[in-house]
Symmetry: C2
Subunit: 93 residues, 2 copies
């Protein structure tokens, strides 16, 4: 299992646990996860996509799932802007 796969499983477990039982620890896990996923160059839209999948598998209604398509489009723009910044920086080095 590479990082992307194990990261998907980690995120799903973290979200499902928090949905059942919200806690400060759960939020802290979210922060730790964020650092790791940025380090491994996971894009923000990949996170949105996994989140959508988790809700879809939990049987959440189609309207809510649809709303994620817009969120995905918006986050793709952010992902791209971030990538451009990174590639500019590496050119400057």
């Amino acid at each position: 299992m590479d990082f992307k796969e194990s990261m998907q499983a980690m995120y799903a477990e973290m979200v499902k646990r928090y949905m059942e039982q919200p806690s400060e620890n759960g939020l802290y896990d979210g922060q730790k996860f964020s650092r790791q996923s940025i380090e491994h160059q996971i894009s923000p839209e990949e996170i949105i996509s996994i989140h959508k999948q988790i809700l879809q598998e939990s049987g959440v209604s189609g309207h809510v799932i649809n709303s994620f398509d817009i969120l995905l489009e918006v986050m793709m723009g952010y992902g791209l802007a971030y990538q451009e910044h990174q590639s500019l920086r590496s050119k400057q080095k």
Copy 2:
């Protein structure tokens, strides 16, 4: 109404319309919105926060709403990483 307020209203309208009737045009609106919100330095977690609020107001179940707390924590990390890149770049100018 400043950009942030009108942008919240724009996003809400766009998402609600798409939830009722998904369309290619709706996705295209999402892309345009993304460019504008990046230009106006709206952070990714602000988008997530508005999205959560829209679903909350639409009466979506508490479990789903809870899941957005984790998504928010994760996106805050991305927002921060992006800000750091931007501030590094402006120092280099």
